[in-house]
């Protein structure tokens, strides 16, 4: 069974990797990718890293991209538009808490739509 993928776009490489490791501990097998920071560990978001992360995990079940603050959203939107894949969506929920909820739901086979219903219920 394929699972909805999760991409974590944070200004900090460490933060993205850390959130990733929390999700992996809970859900194990689902596709999660961190796209954090700039080259050299600097703070910022990198369009190419986001694209690569989406490319790495995207599958037919779809992908949800979480971002932290400010420019992360713009870079994530650009990456999604530029790739032009179907069924890749940006979520405006809190990055850690939102991705956690999404990971649990993805792990039990929920669809992108179902996960967004839960995210909206929890965070809007």
């Amino acid at each position: 069974m394929e699972h909805v993928g999760i991409v974590l776009v944070s200004h900090s490489e460490k933060a993205a990797a850390g959130i990733c490791e929390i999700l992996q501990q809970v859900v194990g097998e689902i596709p999660v990718e961190a796209a954090g920071g700039l080259e050299g560990g600097e703070i910022g978001t990198n369009f190419e890293r986001i694209q690569t992360a989406i490319e790495n995990i995207h599958n037919e079940k779809g992908t949800i991209v979480f971002y932290d603050i400010g420019s992360a959203q713009m870079n994530a939107e650009m990456a999604i538009e530029t790739l032009g894949f179907e069924n890749v969506h940006l979520a405006s929920a809190p990055i850690l808490e939102g991705a956690y909820l999404a990971a649990v739901e993805s792990s039990v086979g929920k669809s992108v739509e179902e996960i967004f219903v839960s995210l909206n219920k929890e965070f809007n």
Binding site: L38, E42, I43, G44, T45, N46, F47, E48, I69, G70, S71, M74, N75, E77, M78
Partner: protein, 206 residues
């Protein structure tokens, strides 16, 4: 006048020089109302853009701007990355296939760039961002018939200065609300240098 590939290349080189020269100024403006990295972001981004275009041969302006756009998007790291990236991407698209990029074409490309900033940043005029320079400047350009160095300089300067009294509602500065007043927006300042560089480029041709 007509915008040649040489102008387009020169523009990026000149922006880069200005951004490197004013790196600390941009950083300290961003320290006042943002996170203090605008100087670093801009100097990294435009240095990379210069590196990129220096290694290529171009036959049209559109290709120059496209390379600049993708470089800025991936190298800047802050909000200004996708925003300036969008600016050059939209301009690149607007002049694509156009053989002679005359003032009319350039002026409508600027309008596209403004639309791009608005769409990408979900920004409106008056929110104390780079848009507060770009939008009035594009508007002014559409009212005249040819490049007017002084008009570009004056408009860029007055709009840049006018961001001082605005309250930020977009980007990191928006967290400061009323306290963002009294400081020029860093993105408006760097936009001023972008247009100053443009004015410099067309100097010899007037």
């Amino acid at each position: 006048m007509k915008l040649e590939v040489s102008h387009a290349l020169d523009w990026i080189h000149k922006i880069n020089e200005k951004v490197q020269d004013h790196k600390d100024e941009l950083t300290s403006l961003d320290q006042a109302i943002g996170d203090g990295d605008h100087g670093i972001n801009m100097s990294r981004g435009f240095q990379e853009a210069v590196n990129k275009i220096s290694g290529e041969e171009y036959s049209d302006v559109s290709e120059v701007w496209k390379d600049v756009a993708t470089t800025l998007m991936s190298k800047v790291g802050g909000a200004s990355g996708p925003l300036y990236g969008t600016v050059f991407l939209k301009m690149s698209t607007a002049v694509k296939g156009v053989e002679n990029v005359d003032f009319q074409t350039f002026s409508s490309a600027l309008k596209e760039a403004v639309a791009g900033i608005k769409q990408r940043g979900k920004a409106e005029a008056g929110e104390k961002t780079m848009l507060d320079v770009w939008e009035p400047l594009a508007d002014k350009m559409s009212e005249v018939q040819d490049f007017d160095r002084q008009l570009i300089l004056d408009t860029a300067q007055s709009t840049m200065e006018s961001t001082k009294d605005l309250v930020a509602t977009k980007g990191r500065a928006s967290y400061l609300k009323e306290r963002s007043k009294g400081h020029i927006d860093p993105g408006a300042m760097s936009s001023y240098y972008v247009f100053e560089a443009l004015a410099d480029c067309i100097k010899g041709d007037e």
